[in-house]
C-alpha cells in the first residue's frame, strides 16, 4: 500500500503545486528579497541599488524617529497587556460562574472581535471627539474633558483602551475555554479540605489556568508588535509622533519617503524583536506556567 501511495507522483504534484507556488512566491521570495534590500540604499525607483552593508540596521536605532517608534510600541504593549489580562480574566471568571444566559454573554462580548479595525476606529474616534461621548459623560460629573486623540499625553493610552475594547472578548473566550477544562473535582476536593473561595482561586483555578494565560500573552505580544490599522485611522502616528509605532514607521518610510532599504531593515529588526520576546516568554514560562503531569 505504501509503495502505491508514494508512487502517484503526478497526483502529488497536482495537490501540492498551488500551495507551493504561494509559499515560494508570497512568503519565501519576499522574505529573502527583504533581507537583500535591507542591505542596500534602494529608494524603490533606481535600477542600481548600492550595497551598504549593515548601515540601515545601525540607523534603525540611531535615528530618533525610528528608535522612538520601537519605544512607543513597547509602551503600547506594556499598557495593553495588563489591562486585557486582568479584565479578560475577570470577565471569563464571571461568565464561567453563571448558569443562566452563559451562551448569550459569550456571544455578546465576542462581537467586537469579528469587526474590522476600521469600524472600531471610527466609533472610538467619535467617542474621543472633543464634542464626543466621553467628554460629555465626564461633564456630567463636572470633569473637564480633553482632546484625547489630539493631545500627545493621552493619544496612545486612548488607542490602547479602544484596542482593549475590541480584543477583550477574544481574551475572555480563550480563558473561558481554559476554565471549562479544569475538572470540577479539583475544586470539590479543595472545598472538602476546607479551602475558602479565595484560596481555591489562588491555589487551584489560577495555577490550572496558567497555560491559557501564557497562550493569550504570547498572542497579545505578537499581534500588538504589529499594531497599525487603528493608529493609522485614529491618529496616523501623531500628535507629535506620540503614537508612531514601528509598523507606521515602516509604512511611511517605504511608501511615503521611498526608503525601501531602510524600511526593510526596520521590518527585519521588528521580526527579530518579536522572535526574541517570544523566546524569552518561552524561557520564563517554565517558572510560572503549570502543566498537568499525568
Amino acid at each position: 500500500m505504501k509503495r502505491r501511495r508514494g508512487g502517484d507522483l503526478g497526483t502529488l504534484a497536482f495537490l501540492l503545486a498551488p500551495s507551493l507556488a504561494g509559499l515560494v512566491l508570497f512568503n519565501l521570495v519576499p522574505m529573502v528579497y527583504s533581507i537583500y534590500i535591507s542591505l542596500t540604499d534602494w529608494d524603490g525607483v533606481s535600477k542600481t541599488p548600492q550595497f551598504i552593508g549593515l548601515k540601515n540596521f545601525f540607523r534603525v536605532f540611531s535615528e530618533e524617529l525610528s528608535r522612538n517608534s520601537f519605544l512607543t510600541t513597547f509602551k503600547f504593549i506594556l499598557m495593553y497587556v495588563p489591562v486585557v489580562l486582568v479584565l479578560g480574566l475577570l470577565l471569563s471568571l464571571m461568565i464561567h460562574s453563571v448558569t443562566k444566559g452563559k451562551q448569550l454573554y459569550r456571544a455578546a462580548v465576542f462581537i467586537p472581535v469579528v469587526m474590522s479595525w476600521i469600524t472600531v476606529s471610527f466609533i472610538w474616534k467619535w467617542i474621543y471627539d472633543p464634542f464626543g461621548l466621553l467628554n460629555y459623560l465626564l461633564s456630567i460629573f463636572g470633569i473637564k474633558g480633553s482632546m484625547w486623540l489630539g493631545n500627545e499625553n493621552t493619544a496612545l493610552i486612548s488607542i490602547v483602551v479602544a484596542t482593549a475594547w475590541k480584543d477583550l472578548g477574544f481574551i475572555a473566550i480563550i480563558l473561558l475555554a481554559g476554565l471549562d477544562n479544569i475538572p470540577s473535582s479539583y475544586q470539590e476536593a479543595a472545598s472538602i479540605d476546607g479551602a475558602n473561595a479565595l484560596n481555591r482561586f489562588f491555589r487551584v483555578t489560577l495555577p490550572m489556568l496558567t497555560p491559557s494565560l501564557f497562550f493569550v500573552m504570547v498572542l497579545s505580544l505578537i499581534n500588538n508588535f504589529q499594531v497599525f490599522d487603528q493608529i493609522y485611522i485614529m491618529t496616523a502616528g501623531g500628535p507629535l509622533n506620540s503614537t508612531r509605532t514601528v509598523v507606521i514607521e515602516i509604512f511611511e518610510n517605504a511608501f511615503s519617503f521611498n526608503r525601501m532599504g531602510f524600511a526593510s531593515a526596520q521590518a527585519l529588526t521588528l521580526f527579530l524583536v518579536i522572535l526574541i520576546v517570544t523566546g524569552l516568554q518561552n524561557w520564563i514560562q517554565k517558572r510560572w506556567v503549570v502543566y498537568e503531569t499525568e
Binding site: 502505491r4 501511495r5 502517484d8 497526483t11 502529488l12 495537490l15 501540492l16 498551488p18 500551495s19 509559499l23 508570497f26 512568503n27 519565501l28 521570495v29 519576499p30 522574505m31 528579497y33 527583504s34 534590500i37 464571571m94 453563571v98 454573554y105 455578546a108 462580548v109 465576542f110 462581537i111 467586537p112 469579528v114 469587526m115 474590522s116 479595525w117 476600521i118 469600524t119 471610527f122 466609533i123 467619535w126 467617542i127 471627539d129 464634542f131 461621548l133 460629555y136 477574544f170 473566550i173 480563550i174 505578537i222 499581534n223 508588535f225 504589529q226 497599525f228 485611522i233 515602516i250 509604512f251 511608501f255 525601501m260 524600511a263 526593510s264 521590518a267 521588528l270 521580526f271 518579536i274
Partner: protein, 277 residues
C-alpha cells in the same frame, strides 16, 4: 455549588456586573447603527439619543453620490468570496497530500510551511508589493486576493483533521479502483465539512477586514474595498460621523450576519489561530 437562598444576592450582583460589560460592548454598536440614520446636526447632539428623531436615508444617498460606496461593497464581496473558495481548495489539496501521501522530504517541507506561518505579514509586505509591481498586478483586485488564498494555518488545520481519517478508507477505495482525485472528492471532502467551515469563516473574516495590504497595493477608487474606501471617506470628512457610521454599518452588517449564523466556527477558528490577518 448548590443554589440556595443565601446565594441569590451574589448571583444578582454577578449578572449586574456582566450586564455592564455587555452594555459597554453593545452600546457603541447601537450608537453606530443609529448614527447612520441621523442628520449631521443630530449626530453631534449630546446626550445622544439611541433612536433617531426620524430615520432618514440621506447618508446612504450621499455616500453613493460622493464615493460610489456600492462599488466598494461589490469589490469587498468579490475579494472575500474568491478568497474563501481558493483558500479552501488550496488548503484541502495540500492537506490531503501531507496527510495521506508518503514522499521524500515531506517532514522538511511541512516544517517550512509551518515556519512560513510564523512570519508576520508586515515583515515582508514591502517586497511583496515589489513582486506584484513586477507581475504587473498592482492596483488590481487579483493582487488583493492572491496572498490571502495561501494560509499555512488553514493547511495545518486541514492536515490535522485529515490525519484523523483512517488510512483504511483510502486504501479500500484504492483497491476498488478509485483515483486519488475521486477519493479526495468523495471521501475526504465530505468528512472535512467542519474544518472547511472553519477555514471559510476565517478566510472570509480576514479578507473582509484586511486593511494594510489593500492600502499598499490599490490606488484607484474604483478598485477599493470597503475598509479602504471608508478610510478615503474619512480623509475627506473627518468629523461627519453620520457618514462614517453609515459606512461602518454597511461594513458591519455582512460580517455580523455571518457571525450570527456561524458563531461556533468564528470562536473555534479564532481560538485556534489567535493571529490577526
Amino acid at each position: 455549588m448548590k443554589p440556595n437562598k443565601e446565594m441569590i444576592w451574589p448571583r444578582i450582583a454577578l449578572h449586574a456586573l456582566l450586564i455592564v460589560f455587555v452594555a459597554s460592548t453593545l452600546f457603541p454598536l447601537l450608537w453606530m447603527a443609529s448614527g447612520a440614520f441621523k442628520t449631521y446636526r443630530e449626530v453631534l447632539q449630546m446626550p445622544p439619543n439611541l433612536i433617531p428623531a426620524q430615520f432618514n436615508l440621506d447618508n446612504f444617498i450621499e455616500l453613493r453620490n460622493y464615493f460610489k460606496v456600492e462599488i466598494f461593497l461589490a469589490n469587498s464581496i468579490i475579494v472575500a468570496v474568491v478568497t474563501v473558495i481558493l483558500q479552501i481548495l488550496v488548503s484541502i489539496m495540500a492537506a490531503f497530500a501531507f496527510a495521506k501521501f508518503n514522499f521524500r522530504g515531506k517532514q522538511v517541507l511541512f516544517l517550512i510551511y509551518l515556519a512560513a506561518m510564523m512570519i508576520p505579514f508586515q515583515i515582508y509586505m514591502i517586497t511583496l508589493f515589489r513582486i506584484f509591481v513586477g507581475l504587473h498586478l498592482k492596483d488590481t483586485l487579483t493582487a488583493v486576493i492572491l496572498p490571502g488564498t495561501f494560509s499555512m494555518f488553514s493547511i495545518f488545520l486541514a492536515r490535522q483533521h485529515i490525519l484523523g481519517i483512517p488510512d483504511s478508507y483510502v486504501e479500500a477505495a484504492l483497491i476498488d479502483g478509485a483515483s486519488y482525485r475521486r477519493i479526495l472528492r468523495s471521501i475526504i471532502v465530505p468528512m472535512c465539512k467542519s474544518v472547511i467551515a472553519t477555514i471559510a469563516v476565517m478566510a472570509f473574516m480576514n479578507s473582509w477586514n484586511q486593511f494594510i495590504w489593500p492600502l499598499i497595493i490599490l490606488d484607484s477608487t474604483s478598485k477599493m474595498t470597503l475598509p479602504l474606501g471608508l478610510a478615503r471617506v474619512h480623509g475627506r470628512f473627518r468629523t461627519e460621523y453620520n457618514l462614517l457610521m453609515t459606512g461602518n454599518l454597511i461594513m458591519f452588517v455582512p460580517i455580523f450576519s455571518l457571525y450570527l449564523f456561524a458563531q461556533k466556527y468564528f470562536v473555534r477558528s479564532l481560538a485556534l489561530s489567535g493571529l490577526k490577518a
